[in-house]
Amino acid sequence: MAPPVTATSVPSSELPAAYEAAHVHEIYEHIAHHFSSTRYKPWPIIAAFLSSLEDGWIGLDSGTGNGKYLPLPVDRPGRLWTIGLDRSRNLLQIAKTAGEAEREVVWGDVLGYAWRHEIFDYAISIATIHHLATPERRKLAVKRLLSAVAPDHGRVLIYVWAVRQDEHSKRDIPTDPASTGSGQDVFVPWVMSDDKTQVFNRYYHMFEDGELASLATVAAEELGLIVGPPADAASLKGVEIRQNGWERSNHYVELRRWQT
């Protein structure tokens, strides 16, 4: 049986970047190969999102991990290009040949911005933002995604783990009653398959119901974007939340930028 998920909190005395380095990045470097072997099946909503994109589009997969979304959509290979960004060099080494073809991958941080502004047509960030250790950093990550995509049509899909787990979940998420409404910081253990004595506790911020959409709303507003459907008036910029859901222990939002 897997060891339990345990509640934690990020010490205020510690720099969040150093905390993430120790409790997220170093762990993924260690577990990259074993982790990758467990991550091969695309999630249906994410696959449907990628299938809905147009030929000729380019996108950013921010936190691509082993690159399992880079080959999608599989029925239109090479018609659009997703570039994978990740903090783990060992995972990128796997991602760069995801789906037995050569992919474009970049070693970088989701809080960085090493791109021409608003150049991508779409951006996805799957199971990544929940590894950032403060609300400010999670908000900045969403701002980076919104700023990465085209102001008149850019599309963004974000997935994070939820406090609310479905009935098939192997994880029991401890909740601190004091944290209601702002999610729960936890350590999720990773047990190496070849040596069960090796357990790595990864830091996660598990999202509360509504928390991801609120985060996206505040991030958009701080970028000067109106949150809602495209306006009638001219010369306005905004973001519409096209989907806001929960699926199998994850929260997700789909955002679409618009400009009039």
Binding site: D55, E104, L111
Partner: protein, 123 residues
Amino acid sequence: MVRLITHNLLACHVKGCTSNNFPLEFKDVQVVLRDSEFNPDFLRGFIPKIEWPALTGAARQLGDTSLPDQLPEMQDDDFLKVLHHVLLEIHVEEGTMICPNCKHNYPISNGIPNMLLAEHEIG
């Protein structure tokens, strides 16, 4: 992988480095050519996003002079095949990309560019 499709999108993101920070200049590169499938529909959609002088300049730095100085109005299959080769078949495996403004070095190793910054360099 650093192919010119990606190079045409990358910009320096060191704190305060916000102008003349594109395109990054290649230095000491090792280049490998590998065939990839030709997709004219992708190219037609991507062309409007290309910064053309940055692409032709970078291709020349990698020893390829096949692109015209100006994006041609007539984008027939012959042109698209040249563009496909430049964007998607030239792989920079090793080397460095240098910011034209602040001179920050972004190393490329085993085909993967390192765009990480030190904490004090992040904007």
